[in-house]
């Protein structure tokens, strides 16, 4: 009976997640531009990013034990409004929802959903002639949205700087700080180098790419994508999976994708992307409980939409 109730609860959580969060974000989005209309339109930037991805079944192991083949559905919606405060300072305020849903029909300590809903608060600033920086903090709920408490509230910090050498070469320096993660501080270095008229090596995490300009509106690329996050599973997660130690446990989720794709600039303000390939690495790491699951490679396909207006 308890198992049935758990399944109902899990189903409810899924329904709750899908039907509630997206409409909430969609309500927030039109509300923000309305207030911005009073200001000069050029002084307020809007960013909307939507992503939907599916990864096919990948054989998954929990500490070396086969726990079955797992598929994944990943969704991401992020909206940021960025008003210009001074000539050198832009504010960033918005919301982000990212959700990974996994097939949990198999055995194993696998969360069925990992997701976060967070605010986005930060700023962009020109610190020197050729240096721009971005600081962004995303306070929100990371893990189970059905059991919101201090345990699953987190606020990862992202800091980045770009050195604009010229139109063809820029260097990027980044830092992710998440005190809950196994790796609380994660630095990154990247660059964008347009080394030929049609070719660009856009080596920026989390999406390093080699890009080819098919024409002015269409870009083909071969790239990688890293999705990662730190979440807290539910307070009964361990009980349900026969491992009480995992109740309220922290899990680092990471997947790495590799494949070709296309980016089509449908409008000057709208870019659509489609890519497919292989998810070559995927892990759920309950690092402080010494429980780890990882998957064999699996095919994936994903669509994305980026609007800047």
């Amino acid at each position: 009976m308890s198992r049935i109730n758990d399944n109902v609860w899990v189903t409810m959580k899924r329904i709750f997640s899908n039907s509630f969060i997206l409409p909430m974000l969609l309500v927030v989005m039109p509300a923000a531009p309305t207030s911005a209309l009073a200001a000069e339109s050029m002084a307020v930037a809007h960013e909307l990013d939507l992503g939907l991805g599916y990864a096919g079944r990948g054989v998954t192991y929990q500490d070396g034990r086969n726990v079955g083949s797992i598929y994944e559905l990943a969704t991401d919606v992020k909206y940021v409004i960025s008003p210009q405060i001074t000539n050198d300072l832009l504010l960033r305020v918005g919301a982000d929802w990212e959700r990974f849903a996994f097939d949990t029909s198999q055995t194993g300590a696998l969360p069925d959903i990992l997701q976060h809903v967070s605010a986005v608060v930060g700023f962009d600033y020109q610190v020197a002639d050729q240096w721009l920086m971005r600081t962004e903090i995303q306070p929100g709920v990371y893990g189970s949205l059905a059991q919101i408490g201090w345990r699953n509230v987190d606020a990862p910090l992202f800091m980045g700087a770009v050195y604009l050498r010229d139109a063809d070469l820029q260097w990027f320096f980044g830092l992710r700080v998440d005190l809950r993660s196994q790796y609380p501080v994660f630095p990154a270095l990247g660059f964008r180098w347009k080394y030929a008229d049609d070719w660009t090596l856009n080596f920026q995490l989390p999406k390093p790419r080699l890009e080819y300009d098919v024409n002015d509106d269409l870009k083909a690329y071969l790239g990688a994508g890293v999705k990662a996050g730190t979440f807290v599973v539910g307070e009964r997660f361990g009980d349900i999976h026969g491992m009480p130690a995992l109740n309220n446990a922290t899990v680092d989720y990471t997947d790495v994708r590799l494949g070709p794709g296309f980016a089509w600039k449908v409008l000057p303000t709208l870019t659509l992307e489609a890519e497919g390939g292989y998810m070559i690495y995927r892990t759920w790491d309950f690092f402080d409980k010494h429980v780890k699951l990882d998957s064999h490679p699996a095919p994936y396909f994903q669509l994305a939409c980026h609007a800047r207006f």
Partner: protein, 346 residues
Amino acid sequence: MKQLSIFLIMWLCGAVAAPAPSHASDPLENLKKFSDFQKIDVKRLLEGEIFSQRGPLMNFPNGISTQICFFVPLSPEAVFRLQQSWDPTRCASLKIYASSGLSSPCQPRDFKKLHLDPGSRPVKWLVEKTLATTSGKLELNLTSSDARELSACVSKDSSLNSIGSCWSKLLLTRATAFQLKGLGGVLPYEAEGDFLYPSVQLRSMLQEQGKIIQEFAPLLQKTGMLGNGAEVSSLQPLYNWSFFEANHHATLNLGAVYQLAVGDHYQLLDIDYYASSTYYAAATLYEIWPIRDGKKTGSLVWRGDFLAAPMLRYTKGIERLAYGVIMIQEIKKVIRCFLDDIRTKP
């Protein structure tokens, strides 16, 4: 980040200069009155540092501006003479294929340096866009009438030489109209059924710069830039054209440089009133003073750059900041080439 690489600002012919005054007012005080440079470290300036300021957002959505200030270790007269003979095509990093003055009235032979290199990817882009042009398909800065004529011209012979000749004819027509009527004669472009006038775009950008307009009023009034466009300039400009790479696209432009001595200092206005693609129009204002600090003498040059480009309307937020930064870097590249030439050829 694709948008980050759009600029290559190369309206070079007006660079810097004019005859030097025999007595100079304090140039740094003058600079403070109208520019964004409220404090300049003279020592660093004289050592060769190029100071820059990204302009504020404009109400004109397609516009962006920057201000730059630098020192040239020569008298204004010497700078002027060198500028007249300077060949920017020698500086490979500027990616200028050809640049030349135009006679008045301009002649077909003025464009004899226009050659389309089949091995250049940016040139291939221009050739492809030219061949794809019809009166109903305008991906370049043209009117339907231009497009019809260009299309008819290249359909007779689509060799690179022929395409170059067709472009020469088009440039000749536009340059002639400008020489006859000044800014009032600048022919428009057509985009989505609307006419877009580069002269209107230039005025829109400049009219937002109150202090700069005031500073350059004598020059701008004589060029007709401040009026309604009907009046012909009372100054005789130097006409020019260039063929260069902008945003990895081969681009043709037509320009004019106006010069005026005002009291103890000198002003220039350098405009691009036609560009085949990538941007709509551009203007650069220069003010040049003689400067002295101890035993060191030379010229203090201020330049304000104003660029109208189609994609700027859609470029906001941090991308807009990045555009401004990159625009400054590209302009500095031009200035450094000019200064290097001065050093190597005293």
